[in-house]
Symmetry: C2
Subunit: 394 residues, 2 copies
Amino acid sequence: MLSESMAALGKRRSTIRELFEYGNRRAAEVGRENVFDFSIGNPNVPAPDAVRQALLELVDEDPVRLHGYTSAQGDAAARAALADSLNRRFGTRYTADCLYLTAGAAAALSAVFKALSCPGDEFVLFAPYFPEYRCFIESGAGAKCVVVPPRIEDFQIDFDALEARLTVHTKAVVINSPNNPSGAVYSEGTLRALAAMLEQKSKTFGHPIYLVSDEPYREIVYDGLTVPFVPHFYQDTIVCYSYSKSLSLPGERIGYILVPSEATDSADLYAAVCGAGRVLGYVCAPSLFQQVAAKCAGQTADLSVYAENRRLLYDGLTAMGYTCVKSDGAFYLFPRTLEADDTAFSERAKKYDLLVVPGSDFGAPGHMRISYCVQTDTIRRALPLFERLAAEYR
Amino acid sequence: MLSESMAALGKRRSTIRELFEYGNRRAAEVGRENVFDFSIGNPNVPAPDAVRQALLELVDEDPVRLHGYTSAQGDAAARAALADSLNRRFGTRYTADCLYLTAGAAAALSAVFKALSCPGDEFVLFAPYFPEYRCFIESGAGAKCVVVPPRIEDFQIDFDALEARLTVHTKAVVINSPNNPSGAVYSEGTLRALAAMLEQKSKTFGHPIYLVSDEPYREIVYDGLTVPFVPHFYQDTIVCYSYSKSLSLPGERIGYILVPSEATDSADLYAAVCGAGRVLGYVCAPSLFQQVAAKCAGQTADLSVYAENRRLLYDGLTAMGYTCVKSDGAFYLFPRTLEADDTAFSERAKKYDLLVVPGSDFGAPGHMRISYCVQTDTIRRALPLFERLAAEYR
């Protein structure tokens, strides 16, 4: 008598959540310090002090205004501040009216998929992909997911495989760079080739294929790399951003949708985003954190610990014989598992209280996701266990 | 190429929003103090000092935990605190696991409708009703709205009209008491009769008809009235609550869904709510305000100004010959307009810079909604203008 699909989605928690809950139960048995939970992408570095300072300043402002409804798209001054920050960083000319503030990237993606979807539409995902995309696209927007298999040597794009999947039904292609779970950052070459293919196919099919760029990890990159700014490469880009990772505010649910004015039908597109936000029950993004984000525009938490964690983990695992792309961003490694059945491997790892997520969950079997947003000491103490696990396979 | 229905919903703002924006433009022309904006339900009393104190305490806690993801249903300790508060007030025995924290009542309603909806389902609304229900039910959950006409003498329930609309397709009946826009509070008698009818029809149709109780105004009542607690009357009640009005935090988006353990299939129902929240992109309710709500459980803003506003406005308008039910709650009056065409009346009122919302928007033509969450002085200065408007019709 209820929606069976909703009940099923609510009961069958994501594998990530299941592992996380298992880790909590196990911690109660053997002690938190003896469980090596690499399952969840919850930033372990604190929000920068600028967030605390902003909160302390804001709390003395007029509470009626501070905690009041903003317009559905977000407070105009906050949007202007965020647009200015983007313009300074990327040499763009966005206005407040290009931005729609959201309750994080998940809300942004849900609203964009709902805004774009017409009956029969297809959205193209690249494996490995963030598993919630499927929920938002299929169960939320009522559209279809089409998956491009992974190019496992570097997790860039397999263009032949992509081309074979672009059809007259393709409404949008979804990218996530830096990537969860692979950590890969799309190069300028990849983005240029992607833009060229989407431009050509848009012409062929007689309608724009939008590029939805999910960018919560934009600022988390290593070795001095710069993440190319996707709208510079392709006109019909829609950016979904979150402050969850860059400002370490994942619980506060604050982010935005950027609808560049160059995008085809941008006014209608922006209106459709507003309509979708309304239908999904997003009255406005949380008002206090709209102001916090505006005050902290362009700042980040101290992300240096992730660089150290990545170095330790990558060097340690590859020295033991694990095969792993040395990815450039986010806080995930995505090594091959030591047996083809990644779920069996993840189960075996539990023997050592190592919690890693099977790649199958992300559409890339034979891999595991290791979230290294943990204490560095956790990695140091986990490495001998990864060694013992590897020894089982020798 | 976009979802036309989403673009239409985004472009055609609600009449309430249109009036609000008109008021802002008009204020720029003639001065804010000369525009009498009764269009929007944005509380004008500040959040209680307890909110500021809670924020100041919380800001010194561990930011990784404070701003981190909570479980999807909300922090367990916060849910337990809110369940305890309900238990103290209503003599219930709810646990943390009966509550699912949400980004306000709109998110709560969207998730509940999505959780309940199967193809062909109908939701029964009572006019006058909050217009966004239609968006959530039709465009969000893909179900159908069936409207019971208003009982305009007191805005209680016309049971003959309700009975005629309950069918085998009825999934739920939606009530909102105290009501937006009428201000009516359903009496114990009304709730007993409603429960009896729903129990009988549930038996007849062989499946439970859920009662969705939307209660953001629960604490805003006058003359010492107590709002009956709906789950005491009907087992299959699902409560949607928001702190927007009681704590004057509408922009912060914090509320909850209560799934009482007595409800039919309550475990499945709770799971379906979790699934719906996931699909709609609600990762968790804003984490800082989960803690604020828990710390402020049972408190309210100083709501006494609304009582004074109601008295002034009701006495003033009825003395001039306006016909109005003296409603018991919320911060709205819903008088008859002085001509049958409520939209024409609302237009005519603009001549005096009086902004009132036509009742047609709420499914009750021939009425106007006056939001009295404004400065008391605004009401004092508006009354002579309502008198001049009335004089036009004599």
